[in-house]
Symmetry: C2
């Protein structure tokens, strides 16, 4: 077959596979939003079937033949062309899938669908014992994945690679060692700073419907297009990219406080902005996709924190928040409010953590999940190990499982190896924002006018519209001029919080 014809067929198959995968994506969205409780058994069978069909397509030897017919042709001469990116990524995914037995793929889809619902029920009941057998199954399946993928002594690397292609556990360890060295002293200094915020300003009566309207209006003001997306509520915030005109955010609101729901929504809106900014002409193929979860999280964390906790952001939104919540915020001074949304304090819940201590939460999960997969930590010992890690790193002991090892849904959903991408996201976000400031100048006055178009345009141009053309590290280097580096993150946290807390 001529290379052009093989390539055309390769693309046709890739798009069809993506289309089928997007059906599974909608089913997964529904699982976490509207599915009735008794629907889970059938849903697990649906997901297993779709996972099996997807695996069959991705591992099809004919796909290997098409790849071989294109790989040495002139079509892929420019390594950054869409053709080369497609062939490189489809090859990578094909080689991965051929190593996985279909029955393992189906079983994993089935078990993780059930396990995620069991996790949600166990979390509501704050009962780890209920979740434990499910997590045990998930860990066994993850080990079988790693084994099938053949990562030898480092099974965790095979899992990490699903979310952050090419990243190794050892690199993550190095990154966390460096961050730990810098961030624990910073967190301590801030905790004992002469000036401290009053976080109770964010507590009070915040009717959920108003929170929802306010969060939606904010996401829209940042640029999230609700004609091409929506916002729902759920147990654990997430986003879901169903199709090019269909990007969904899910969040949760707490009627007694403002911060959690609002920042969770901004976080998911950041993911959503990235998805809505991808090059539509490449939809359904790797050049139309986000190349790494670390990059994806960088946009969630950038909009949530770098933008969403900035002084200029709140110059625009605080009066609007006061209008939306007159009872709770009517009498609060602007600077006190802004200080409160930047409260640095050791806490129990990752998604509520401040920017400085956040990475310690991730570090704990990284170490625990690696120990689970590598067999050093039996699932039964997880609650104890979790609590011990929180005492050690944050000086706190969770009072129950819901605020301990049951707080996050990732493991139930089978996503072991995902957590490090949050910290990678923080690292990338700091590098990207520093660069944006160099190229665009200070954006504070624009933010204070409610104008986020300059930053969004820059990110769209430099990151979103690049799709999957470059691997994450290469994209960061191309855009910022430097390889991935944790120091800009540390520097930005020291700068911002040093000024705020007067240290």
């Amino acid at each position: 077959m001529r290379a052009e014809a093989a390539y055309a067929e390769l693309i046709r198959r890739t798009r069809e596979e993506a289309l089928l995968a997007s059906c599974a994506e909608l089913l997964a969205w529904d699982e976490d939003t509207y599915m009735p409780p008794a629907g889970v058994g059938h849903r697990a069978r649906q997901q297993a079937l779709l996972a099996g069909l997807l695996h069959e397509r991705a591992a099809d030897p004919r796909l290997g033949g098409l790849l071989a017919a294109v790989e040495s042709s002139a079509l892929v001469g420019d390594p950054d062309s869409p053709e080369a990116v497609n062939v490189r990524e489809v090859r990578r995914l094909h080689d991965r899938q051929v190593r996985l037995p279909r029955v393992l793929v189906e079983e994993t889809a089935r078990v993780t669908t059930l396990a995620e619902q069991e996790w949600a029920a166990a979390r509501r009941a704050s009962d780890f014992a209920r979740f434990r057998p499910w997590l045990e199954r998930v860990v066994v399946l993850c080990r079988r994945y790693a084994e099938a993928l053949g990562c030898g002594a480092n099974p965790y690397d095979a899992l990490l690679d699903q979310y952050e292609p090419g990243l190794k556990g050892e690199q993550v360890t190095d990154l966390f060692d460096a961050l730990r060295r810098d961030l624990i002293p910073l967190a301590n200094a801030l905790t004992h700073a002469p000036r401290r915020p009053n976080p109770s300003l964010l507590k009070g009566t915040f009717p959920v419907e108003q929170q929802r309207a306010f969060a939606e209006a904010t996401a829209a003001a940042l640029g999230f297009d609700f004609r091409r997306g929506r916002l729902d509520t759920t147990t654990h915030p997430f986003f879901s990219a169903v199709g090019p005109g269909d990007v969904r955010l899910a969040t949760r609101f707490n009627p007694d406080g403002f911060g959690d729901g609002f920042f969770a929504t901004l976080h998911e809106a950041g993911h959503g902005l990235y998805e809505q900014g991808l090059p539509a002409e490449h939809h359904g193929t790797p050049p139309g996709e986000v190349p790494s979860l670390g990059l994806h999280e960088s946009q969630a964390r950038l909009w949530e924190n770098t933008v969403g906790r900035s002084h200029s952001f709140w110059r625009y939104f605080f009066p609007r928040a006061q209008q939306a919540f007159p009872a709770a915020l009517g009498g609060v001074a602007f600077d006190d409010f802004h200080f409160a949304v930047n409260n640095v304090e050791a806490t129990l819940i990752r998604v509520q953590a401040d920017e400085v201590t956040y990475n310690l939460h991730v570090l704990i999960r990284f170490e625990l999940e690696r120990a689970l997969v590598e067999g050093e930590l039996p699932v039964a010992d997880l609650p104890g190990a979790w609590d011990e890690a929180y005492r050690h790193h944050l000086g706190l002991t969770p009072p129950d499982d819901a605020r301990g090892c049951l707080q996050d849904g990732h493991w139930g959903a089978g996503m072991i190896g995902y957590f490090p991408t949050y910290t990678l996201g923080n690292v990338f976000a700091a590098q990207l924002f520093d660069r944006a400031r160099i190229e665009l100048g200070d954006m504070g006055e624009a933010f204070a006018r409610g104008d986020f178009g300059g930053l969004l345009g820059w990110l769209s141009d430099k990151v979103y519209r690049q799709g999957g053309r470059y691997a994450a590290a290469r994209l960061i280097e191309r855009v910022t001029g430097a390889p991935p580096d944790h120091r800009p993150l540390v520097a930005s946290l020291r700068r911002k919080y040093g000024a705020l807390y007067g240290i």
Copy 2:
């Protein structure tokens, strides 16, 4: 292959096909509830892919081979056994699918997904011109279906057969001729009766959230299990059976009136009770499915009208309705309320029509859709023909397209041939309820106590748990002792409305 092995493989394939079809069902549910507007293009591609995959499976020659290996075996000796039902129905569907080109099936899925959304937009704008090109495409596709299925001179029969296997257009004509003869004089007599209800009692302030809560509580009291289902709002009420533990109702509420949303919810809950009552052990195969849409509608219409507009039903629910809507219903007398929910009056909207005139609305749609498919009525002439039919049969002229030919979503969704099943449902419902009364005695006192378990148990036993074992006409005859017959419907309407209106 031995018959047993062939049968086992046949069932495995049938279940897998049903599982894949249920993914398309969830996508369709989402289209009409939560999908963002710009998601429709991608959704149409998803539905086309799934339709193509389903067609490929159903038309697979290997399936024909499996059928042949079982059809003459002892396995299917008893024609009412699950084995025989499976083989008979899978054969019927296989023979149908092999006649349809895959490209037609895919194109129909794609176009009807888009057309349904265009219908909803056109209805909102009350603009038939917007919908017209889409309906034209749908009609062409339906003709191509009929042609491929080879129904010769009666293309409409091929469409009807999709919803009501075996039913012919001529039988529907005869049924409507008989009903027209009996019901038009009855409707006229009631319209000019000495006693008339005051339907304005049902207008007023009915906050949507309270309506929703009240409708949900009522559906639950009838027996709909919300652990295995849910209720959402939509443009046009519908139900969706995603899986054995996942049956979804969708309705719409009007904040200025009570009846529409409430009875639409009861109607969909009737469908839902049937789906929740099917034999779970046969799920995913014909013995686990409702055998005809006429039977399905019989349960919607029975719970909506025969039960839901009865005196004893409201003896239980009226005080609850007064509590839920004190401003609007606090001062209304019970008998006036009950009379108002049984107002017989020529109106423009089918789903709001009373029991007596309802079948005239269906008759109009039947005649028009047959004329569309058979080429006697160009789509461009539909609004005029619609208005003319309403003037002729109901003495009313729709003031706009939204209250005229755009009111129902069926045609946009490709469901030409569906409408007659509503009237068939009314016919079956009357026969079944008459029989239930013979076997159970008068249920009025039970209903007045909020106890619907006797009727539900009887219907579950006689109808729901029978699944697809018997074709519709045969089930009716087995349960009631008589073949399908419109006279019990006419008699029950004369009896009930004669007494109420004093004629």
